[in-house]
């Protein structure tokens, strides 16, 4: 039972354009969502998060949008840069679930120079 899904295994975007990565979840108990970036041979690096009391959170080039009714969130990167090429994981947690994270399957983003 995959509670967090990233339906696009890969995405290619031209440098300077907007990258949009999508994530869907099924568990209505999730109330906190995070995006991690992972380079090969490294651990995941925290990127940005959003609480279920918000519908948008912005940090520099990165913006996360949350649509609770659709159980959907997205990460926007604009403008995209070559260093953004990595695997992006969406993750979710429930406040009363001992903070453990449930991860999506990841989307490999490739920025084309």
């Amino acid at each position: 039972d995959q509670q967090v899904k990233q339906n696009s295994p890969s995405l290619s975007v031209q440098e300077g354009r907007i990258s949009i990565l999508n994530c869907d979840y099924t568990n209505s108990m999730f109330d906190y969502f995070l995006w991690y970036k992972k380079y090969p041979a490294e651990g995941p690096t925290f990127l940005i998060s959003i609480s279920s009391i918000k519908d948008k959170n912005e940090d520099g080039r990165f913006t996360v949008f949350l649509n609770k009714s659709a159980k959907h969130l997205s990460l926007h990167i604009v403008p995209s840069q070559p260093g953004d090429s990595a695997v992006y994981f969406c993750a979710a947690s429930a406040h009363f679930g001992n903070e453990k994270l449930t991860f999506g399957t990841g989307t490999r983003l490739t920025i084309i120079p």
Partner: protein, 119 residues
């Protein structure tokens, strides 16, 4: 954030042997977790390492196969016992520096991972 190191960074092991992975944090943290990432798959939580008590395992993972220790607030070990090729994965330690309050959460920080290959 916290600086996390793992040892070894990678290893190649024979079937039937055991490997202990160490996770060291540069500061005291509230919670420590162990994850597994099998080839081409997502990260799956193995267990929560509890300081001074037995780890809390997720469904599908048992203490006999993955014994965990956490003797203090900065260190934990995961042992992969009686290994088989199916145990070939990246094993990741993560930490939660502070417990969330009623209105906020905190982000987990990950170590660099241990790449295990079992022949």
């Amino acid at each position: 954030s916290a600086v996390i190191s793992q040892k070894p960074s990678r290893d190649i092991c024979q079937r039937g042997t055991s490997l202990t992975i160490q996770c060291q944090v540069d500061s005291q943290v509230t919670m420590m977790f162990w994850y597994r990432q099998q080839p081409g798959q997502s990260l799956t939580l193995i267990a929560t390492a509890n300081q001074g008590s037995e780890a809390t395992y997720e469904s599908g993972f048992v203490i006999d196969k993955f014994p965990i220790s956490r003797p203090n607030l900065t260190f934990s070990t995961l042992t992969v016992s009686n290994m088989s090729p199916e145990d070939s994965s990246i094993y990741l330690c993560s930490v939660l520096p502070f417990l969330a309050g009623p209105l906020n959460h905190n982000e987990q920080f990950f170590g660099p991972g241990t790449r295990l290959t079992v022949l």
